[in-house]
Amino acid sequence: MSKIGVFVCHCGENISATVDCARVAETSGKLDGVAYSVDYKYMCSDPGQSLIKSAIKEKGLTGVVVAACSPRMHEPTFRKACAEAGLNPYMCEMANLREHVSWVHEKGEATTEKAIDLVRILVEKVKYNQSLNAIKVPVTKTALVIGGGIAGIQASLDIANTGHKVILIEKDPSIGGHMSQLSETFPTLDCSQCILTPRMVEVAQHPNITLYSYAELESVEGFIGNFKVKIRRKSKSIDEKLCTGCGLCTTKCPVKKIPSEFNEGLGMRTAIYVPFPQAVPNKPVIDREHCTYYLKGKCRICEKVCPIQAIRFDQEDTIEEVEIGAIVLATGFSVKQPDFFPEYGYGKYPDVITGLQFERLASASGPTLGEIRRPSDGKVPQNIVFVACAGSRDEAKGIPYCSKICCMYIAKHAMLYQHKVHGGKSYVFYMDIRAGGKNYEEFVRRAIEEDGVNYVRGRVSRIYEKNGKLIVKGVDTLLGAMPVDIEADMVVLATAGVANSDAEALAQKLHVSYDAYKFFAEAHPKLKPVETNTAGIFLAGACQSPRDIPESVSMASGAAVKVACLFSQDELTRDPLIAVVNRMAPPVYSSCVGCFLCVSACPYQAIEKEEIKNRAGEVIKTLARVNPGLCQGCGTCVAFCRTKSIDLQGYTHEQMYTEVMALLNEY
């Protein structure tokens, strides 16, 4: 038999001005199972709380209903008070007599009636409340950062500087990402390498960071604070510990005609290679797809020239298993290639290039040492056209969104061109100029006003070659839609920023959601931009949507703080208001029939399949099981389950039906 205490609050006069608090207390006192009821001026004040605590002790209360303000305000206060008096905190409920009654209704009979109803509902509910214990999970204080672009670098450094361990994995031979390919950066035009390289080195030298380059995520298990991760370290075919990075092997390798990924195909590399001079780590890998030895069984020149015999042709991929407490996803983005644009030549005109290729041309470390020369014949283009929104904002091509960074880098490119090619003419075909950011609009204005870049509002319809010129068929919509044809020497397409081709597979591995374009989805578009729906997994940089460096870096620091918060605790304490699948004695085990409708409903992939096995190890039944580390307590699964096998603690079927019945039976 329950012994429930009802504590009615006046809230000064906030409640008592319209609700007859004494009558609420008196009427509730008569309810079945109520052992004590009282009204008081300020329940949340110290004397108020003491009133509750002593009643619990003296009357041996088994449940408490505080009729006061919104539970969103003081539920934690009263639950804590109960716990201090030795009552399980989840045996306490609040009736909202202030926000939902006294403040919204006039004084009168109906208002007090409503207050009494609200108390009664909760008295009945509390009868079905169960003692629950806060969930505690241990935290492994090592973070995994996936992707070594500027976002991954920043996140790793920030986490490492809080004193926690970081494992950074990068799929390429070097970290650096797209930023390492850039020439100068908007809106300040400072050299990308100059500001990035020190950070890359810092990563390599940081005592708290373990860098695995040429490595990818193999699998993930577990949940927040307790992930078990397997990392595939792809074979580099060298002994990294021995190799000094002298580079002799790379100069002697006879396979020299492989288009360099780092130079976006505008330069060549060897089969054993370091992607770029400032690479971190600065040690080569053998690209087995192009190495003559792996292809034909002959060569081994690198092995011969290596002064310390560091080449290992028989090296195999290794799998590293690590325990991780949090994961930061920072895998960045990709850009569309010119073959995505049939109307601009299907990638067959060498002088129609992407913005990223232009970065390499403009970069002092690039294939032309920073001179703007066109790929076909090395001539300096006298007329250059930049095409904005190439593939972006193009529903017909399946990319309706704006890629966000291109308006700015086009202005930068046109500016760099004007600075480098005196007397050259540059045109930008654009639809809108999106330059929202500190000093961004000013930057674009400078390109137009000071550097004389010709901005033409209109989309290019077609590009074709005629007598060595690229004919760009555009239009000026501000001149009454006047067709504008330009004979260009080179055309730069600001191609759409898109998700990496392996993004979907990676998201599925990690159980994080992704949007229609395969960018990873944040947990809330405004208030949880660096969280994912999976607790303990965070996002940084352009893997969430195309973004520039300042934003990628802020986001990375944000994600790092989230990780640091998590690591500031030894144990995670979570509200136990989570779902559970019932368990019964064998041979039934549970009323769950294993339909797994709940699995499809859960927004957090918190429900797993559990196999019940007999002694012989044979599977007799497959049941749903809620992972308490992942469940957020939304209850969606509960409404889906047809056999009522899954229930939400704190909002159980019994409790909810009881509330409804209690309400209507008297109302």
Binding site: P342, E343, Y346, K348, E465, K466, N467, I471
Partner: protein, 280 residues
């Protein structure tokens, strides 16, 4: 092997050499061609410019006749007719009400069961697979394959080849021993329906096409549409005027070029009927 045949008006008149070459090639490959009986004009540009319902009724009548005649596959060499027939089939399949209304207008049941082939599809399906060994006089020339508008657009409906820079004609010509050139005006419009009413426009549009083919060293332009042919061949006076020079690259139907490659007689292929002398 019997194939239904819809020649359309042009192939009976100003472009009869196209029909002649289609029939000659078909014969050389043992394909029996069966013309749709009592066929009518598809309505061409005029109908869909002026009257939507008529623009569906005329092609639907043709297709109904083909159905009645028991034809399952009909080759339509004229790209314009092909486009009208295919668009009609597409629209009527999409809209049952329209289909019923058109059947009623025509006083003929329309089922929509006929497969319509354009000339390239016909060649791809029945001729090029058997070409090996049959090419006796490879068409050893640099050719510019000109597709025009109606063979490739609208892509949603025709779903034929890729929209910009299509390849299927080039592939056929390659098999006939030619060297197709990469050029920039494969699918630009020649001016088609405005040939008579706005001749100077046609001179310009066709002029750019012929000009690019010439600049890139084409020895012949290969077409698959009577309208393209008329504009590029018969309008050469206006074209030359636009280009400011005399260009004498001949324009051949793909079936003529193929016919030459397999050794058919020039006259049988109607090559004598061209304005620009066929020297290749």
């Amino acid at each position: 092997m019997t194939l239904g045949f819809y020649p359309g008006c042009s192939l009976k008149g100003s472009s009869r050499e196209y029909a002649e070459s289609v029939l000659a090639v078909a014969k050389a490959f043992d394909i029996t061609i069966e013309e749709i009986k009592d066929w009518n004009c598809c309505g061409a540009t005029a109908a869909h410019n002026m009257n939507r319902e008529l623009s569906f009724a005329l092609p639907a009548r043709i297709l109904s006749l083909a159905e009645k005649q028991g034809l399952t596959e009909v080759v339509v060499p004229c790209a314009a007719c092909y486009s009208r027939l295919t668009v009609t089939q597409y629209e009527l399949a999409k809209d049952k009400e329209l289909k019923d209304r058109i059947s009623e207008v025509n006083g003929m049941e329309y089922k929509g069961s006929v497969t319509i082939l354009n000339i390239i599809q016909m060649l791809d399906k029945y001729i090029t697979p058997k070409l090996e060994g049959k090419v006796v006089k490879p068409f050893d020339h640099k050719v510019a394959c000109y597709y025009g508008c109606l063979l490739v657009r609208p892509h949603e409906i025709l779903k034929f080849d890729r929209e910009e820079d299509p390849q299927s004609m080039d592939e056929v010509m390659l098999k006939a021993g030619a060297t197709p050139i990469d050029w920039a005006f494969k699918t630009e419009c020649c001016g088609a329906g405005l040939s008579i009413s706005r001749t100077p426009s046609v001179g310009k549009l066709s002029g750019m096409i012929v000009g690019d083919a010439k600049d890139r060293g084409a020895e012949a332009i290969i077409v698959a549409c009577p309208m393209c042919h008329s504009n590029l061949d018969m309008r050469r006076k206006e074209i030359n005027k636009y280009l400011g020079e005399k260009v004498d690259i001949p324009v051949l139907y793909i079936t003529q070029a193929l016919g030459l490659a397999v050794g058919l007689d020039r006259k049988e292929l109607g090559l004598n009927r061209h304005f620009v002398k066929v020297t290749v």
